[in-house]
Amino acid sequence: MLDVSIRRKLGGFALDIAFQAEERGVTALFGRSGSGKTSVINAIAGLSRPDEGHIRVGDAVFFDSARRIDVAVEKRRVGYVFQESRLFPHMTVRSNLEYGLRRVAAAERRIALGPVVELLGLGGLLDRRPRGLSGGETQRVALGRALLAQPRLLLMDEPMAALDAARKAEILPYIERLRDEMNIPIVLVSHAVDEVVRLATTMVLIADGRVVAAGPVGAVMGRLDLSALSGIQDAGAVLDLTVERHIDADGLSALAFDGGRLTVPRVARPVGGAVRLHIHARDVIVALSPPSGISVRNALPGRVVAVAESGPSSADVQIAVGGSFLIARITRAAVRDLDLAPGREVVALVKGVAFEPDLIAPGPRRVVDV
C-alpha cells in the first residue's frame, strides 16, 4: 500500500496532502495546473523534500520526518515517467532501457528486457536514438525505462500532456496493459478527465495544495460538488460493469453491475470482461415510474441521494443505483414538479453512453444513444 502524508511550504503556497492507495491499480492525482499534483509525486520520488510527514510504499519507508528518515532518490527505486520523457540523447533506445536495469542487483530483477520490449512494442526501435523517435514512441521508451528499473512504484507526470490526440490514443492502451499485467502500483498525475476515467482505479482530487476528495473513481466522479471542487465541466458518473452476454442478432451487449443491467452496442470484450462507462449527466433522464413507449432502453431503478443547483435553470440529481451513483442534469422546474428530494424512489433513464468499445485497441471515445 502507498501511504502519503506530507506538508510543505513553498513561498506563499502550502502543500498539505494525505492519501492512501492500493498495492495494485492506478491512483490518479487530479487537479488544475498549479494545484500541487506534481509536487506530490516529486516528493514521493525524493526529488523534493517535504517539511514534515511520511511516505511509505509497502514495507519501505521513503520519508518520515518524525523518525528522521529520508531515503536518497537513487535508493528509492521508483519509476518516474516525466511529461517531457527525459530520454538520454547520447544513448540508443536499448541503452536507455537498460540504464535502470543495470543498476539493480541481478537477483532482484523480476522484469526482464524482452517482455517489456514486447509489452510496449519497442522491438523495432532498440538501435535508434531518442532524437529520431515520435512523441508516442518516446513516451513508450520512457515507460519501458522506468519499468525496467524494477520499481516498487511507478510515477507518471502527465505522460500524455505533450502528445496530440492520435499519439495519446496510441499510448493509452500500453498504460492499460501495464496496469493490468504488472503488479506495480501506479500514481498518475493528470488534468484530463478522459485519461483519469479510462485509467484510474482510485482518484484523488487536489485543489490549492489540499486533497478535496478521494476514493474509487466512480464514487468521486459521482459527487455533485465535483465541478466546484475540480473544475470538471463534463460531470457524469463512472460505472464499472461486466459483460453478461452478447446479443448478436441485435448487435448489442448486456452489461451488468450491482444496480441493474445496461444494454449497449456490442462491446469487443469477452463475457465476464470488465467495461467502464462514463455516463454524462445530461444523458440521464429522471422518471417517477418506468415509462413505456419510448426509445430509451435502459431504465435503472434508484433512489435520489442529493440535489444541487448546477446553473441558473438546471440542477444535478445524484441517484444511488445499487452501490453506484448516477448523476442526472435536469431543469430546476422538473425538480420542483417531480418533487425530487433525497429518499425519493425514481427511475433513471440512460439516453447516451460514452464508452470505450475496446479497452485494448486504440480508438476515439464513442458516444452512443442507447
Binding site: G46, L47, E74, E84, P89, Y99, G100, R103, V104, A149
Partner: protein, 231 residues
C-alpha cells in the same frame, strides 16, 4: 633544404609538448571547476569564480611573477617541492607547462562550463530515479554530454597555451631547448640583427598551428555533438 632549422624545430616541438602537458594536466581540474560552478551554488561561489577567471584579466607577466615568488626554489611551494620531491619548476619545461596551464585555465573552464549549463538538469534527475548516484551520473550522463564543449575548450586552450609569452618568460626565462617556446623564439629572433626571416617563419608556424587548432576544434565538436545525438 629543410623547412625548419633545428633550432626552429626544437622550439615548435617544445611548444607542443609544453602546451600539451599543460592541457592534459589541468583538464581534470577544469572539468571539476566547470561542473561545480555550472551546477551548484554555495557560499563563496563568486570568489571561486573570480579566482578561476583572474588569469584572464591579469597581465601574464604578473602571473609569471606570482609563480616566480611562490614556485621558485625559495618560494613557499617551490621550496617545499624541491626539498620533498626534488622537483624544480623554475627554468624548466615543466615550469613552462605550469605557467601556460595557469593562463589558459579560465578559457577551458568557460567553454566546459557553458556546455555543463546547457545540459538539461532533468536528465540527471531522471538518472537519479533510475538508481544512479552522483559519480555514476557524472560519468554516464554529464561527461558524455559535455564532451563537445570539453573538447573544443581543451583545443582552444591548447592554442592559447602555445602562444603564451609573458608568464613563460617571467617564470622560466628564455632558454633555447629548455624553455624557449615559439613566441619566445620569435621574440629572441627579433632581437637579432639578421633574425627577420627566422621570426617570419616562426610566426607563420604559430599562425598555422593556431588556425588548424581552431578549425579542428570546431570540426570535432560538431562530429561529437552528432555522435551524442544533439547536433
Amino acid at each position: 633544404m629543410d623547412l625548419l632549422s633545428p633550432m626552429e624545430m626544437t622550439a615548435l616541438l617544445l611548444s607542443l609538448r609544453v602546451a600539451g602537458w599543460a592541457i592534459v594536466g589541468s583538464l581534470p581540474l577544469a572539468v571539476l571547476a566547470a561542473w561545480v560552478l555550472g551546477r551548484y551554488s554555495f557560499p563563496g561561489k563568486t570568489l571561486v569564480d573570480g579566482l578561476v577567471h583572474l588569469p584572464l584579466v591579469l597581465p601574464p607577466v604578473v602571473v609569471g611573477y606570482i609563480l616566480l615568488i611562490t614556485m621558485g626554489t625559495k618560494g613557499v611551494i617551490g621550496g617545499w617541492l624541491l626539498q620533498t620531491f626534488g622537483i624544480k619548476l623554475i627554468f624548466t619545461p615543466e615550469g613552462a607547462s605550469l605557467a601556460v596551464a595557469v593562463t589558459s585555465f579560465p578559457l577551458m573552464v568557460r567553454a566546459i562550463r557553458l556546455s555543463v549549463e546547457a545540459i538539461d538538469g532533468g536528465l540527471e534527475a531522471a538518472a537519479r530515479t533510475l538508481g544512479a548516484g552522483p559519480v555514476d551520473r557524472f560519468f554516464t550522463i554529464l561527461l558524455p554530454l559535455m564532451a563537445p564543449g570539453l573538447l573544443s575548450g581543451a583545443i582552444v586552450a591548447f592554442a592559447a597555451a602555445m602562444g603564451e609569452f609573458g608568464a613563460v618568460i617571467t617564470f622560466v626565462s628564455n632558454i633555447p631547448g629548455r624553455t624557449q617556446t615559439l613566441p619566445l623564439a620569435i621574440y629572441a629572433a627579433t632581437q637579432q640583427p639578421d633574425g627577420d626571416a627566422v621570426a617570419a617563419r616562426l610566426a607563420v608556424i604559430s599562425f598555422s598551428v593556431a588556425l588548424v587548432a581552431l578549425m579542428a576544434s570546431e570540426f570535432l565538436a560538431r562530429r561529437l555533438r552528432r555522435l551524442i545525438g544533439q547536433g
